[in-house]
Amino acid sequence: MEKQGNRRSFLEIATAFIGGVLSLAAGIPLIGFAISPAFKKGESKWVDLGLADRLKNSRFKKVDYTFTAKDGWVKATKKRSVYVTDAGAGEWNVFSRTCSHLGCLVRWDEKQESFLCPCHGAIFDQTGAVVAGPPPEPLQKLETKVEAGILYVKET
């Protein structure tokens, strides 16, 4: 009787063990398959905004631009939008329009001299610093360079 009980206990443990092995053997690759995009590192690249001369003396000018990037299995045309200010002496202030709170697009308001977010009421000043609202960080200022008369921003 005791022998029979030991045998049953062994079968219970062995069944649970095999079940566990099967779950892991199928589960690990499946989970890896699903979450793999989280481990891909994004590439940064320089994207041109056009001739620097055409943007000369710009002040918080909205500039839309496109670039191609691989999106899964497609090479997609991505659209972006920034505010460009010619700071003089070859310096450029280019702010991303993406609100540092939750990703909505901010708009420059000439009257308030501020960037305003249409979602949760964030306000950023001319330097991109948070003046009011929920964002924990300032607006992102993009790296710029001018080469052969063309203004580039670093797209991350």
Partner: protein, 410 residues
């Protein structure tokens, strides 16, 4: 008769029939049909969704056109989409009322804690259906609501950024995101929902209906039978609900905004009405406190809801005789409704563009070389064709390739 006899010889039909006819508690009312109505809506959503999938295409370049096609060209398309769209809103309302009914009568109390827990999990699944569903039309609302929703997830401590990337399938919303949300909406969540409903219903039948708190122990099994009496009332409720939904679907077109544009300067993003309370809540937590609105309150709220039967072990009487429960429930309902109203009445943002000192007058500069990274002759896969592009295409002209070559992908 022959079939019935055949089945009776092989299946316990008599026992099953007796089980269906088991008497309910004596005191029960129309509010006890809300669970059945939620079940009906789940089936209606599954049915209309399965048919919508016949025409829908989950890719950024086709999704918006597919939804427009369904709404404007497919016979009954606007009606089927209307049922699905308004059915989703009805589902949120019915599930919320069902939850309130359970709280009102203290039906979550022992021994029905597990029924409650699986019910709360189903509420999360319903909200998940809503979140994953409204990206699918790939219009402005879809895109921006998803941008904000995923960013909310990214604020969670430690795993936030990882979760956001998994949800998006990468660093930003695009083809992979849409494909993921479609799979979640049409395969993962339905399987999960029907599994949870199965367990929830098993517990409902196993423990029996709780009835109203006024039932004495003797009255718990002296009411009308579940079948046909209660089932008839449920079916009438379903008929009325379907009539209302069908009328709304017929006379109130489902909105479809312009195709998603990540650079649209004039768009004020707003979520679906059932997430407006969260939208409004996020405005009140600023700077380092942001995480309280995005993570702490929603998470703690859900955990407390799940643990409710273990936190409130008071005697099972109606809500108005339980002052603490009554106060907490009232505050929560008033807060959710109030925040929703405030969120809905948020003013649209009006801004004045900067006047530019240069001769150029247009507010948008088209870069001289539109896409630096695109090599000459390389095909660019744009997300959406305009009507002009479709109509202006000459016969035989290649607008875009459906398939990239290996060289192009590299």
């Amino acid at each position: 008769m022959i079939i019935k006899q055949f089945l009776s010889e092989r299946l316990p039909l008599t026992e099953f029939s007796a089980h269906l006819r088991k008497p309910l508690p004596k005191h029960i009312n129309l509010l006890f049909s809300l669970g059945s109505l939620a079940m009906f809506l789940l089936l209606l959503q599954a049915a209309t969704g399965a048919f919508l999938a016949l025409y829908y295409s989950p890719s950024p370049e086709h999704a918006h056109n597919a939804v427009t096609y369904i709404s404007e060209e497919v016979p009954f398309g606007a009606f089927v989409r209307g049922l699905h769209h308004w059915g989703a809103s009805a589902m949120v309302i019915i599930v919320f009322l069902h939850l309130l009914r359970v709280v009102l009568y203290g039906s979550y109390k022992a021994p029905r804690e597990l029924t409650w827990i699986f019910g709360v999990l189903l509420l999360l699944v319903v909200l998940g259906f809503g979140f994953t569903g409204y990206l699918l039309p790939w219009d402005e609302k879809a895109y921006w609501a998803t941008v904000v929703g995923v960013e909310i997830a990214s604020t969670a401590p430690i795993l936030g950024d990882f979760v956001a990337k998994v949800l998006r399938g990468g660093a930003e919303i695009g083809a992979v995101t849409l494909s993921r949300f479609y799979a979640l909406h049409t395969i993962w969540l339905p399987w999960l929902a029907f599994g949870l409903v199965g367990v929830h219903l098993f517990f409902v039948r196993y423990y029996g209906s709780s009835g109203t708190p006024q039932n004495t122990p003797e009255e718990m099994k002296t009411g009308k039978p579940f079948y046909p009496d209660q089932v008839f009332e449920d079916v009438v409720g379903m008929l009325i609900l379907f009539a209302v939904l069908a009328s709304v679907a017929l006379f109130l077109p489902v909105p479809l905004e312009d195709v998603a544009d990540p650079t649209n300067a004039d768009y004020d993003p707003r979520p679906e009405w059932y997430f407006l309370f969260l939208f409004q809540l996020l405005k009140y937590f600023q700077g380092p406190l942001e995480i309280i609105g995005t993570f702490v309150i929603p998470t703690v709220g859900m955990v407390l809801l799940l643990l409710l039967p273990f936190l409130d072990k008071s005697e099972r009487v109606v809500l108005w005789k339980r002052p603490i429960a009554l106060t907490v429930t009232s505050v929560c309902v008033v807060a959710i409704v109030g925040l929703t109203i405030l969120g809905a009445s948020s003013p649209k943002l009006e801004t004045q563009e900067a006047s530019q000192p240069t001769a150029e007058t247009d507010s948008t500069v088209s870069p001289d070389t539109e896409t630096e990274a695109v090599e000459e002759g390389e095909k660019v896969f744009d997300f959406q064709l305009t009507e002009e592009e479709i109509e202006g295409t000459e016969e035989g002209e290649e607008v875009f390739d459906f398939q990239l070559t290996e060289e192009e992908l590299q």
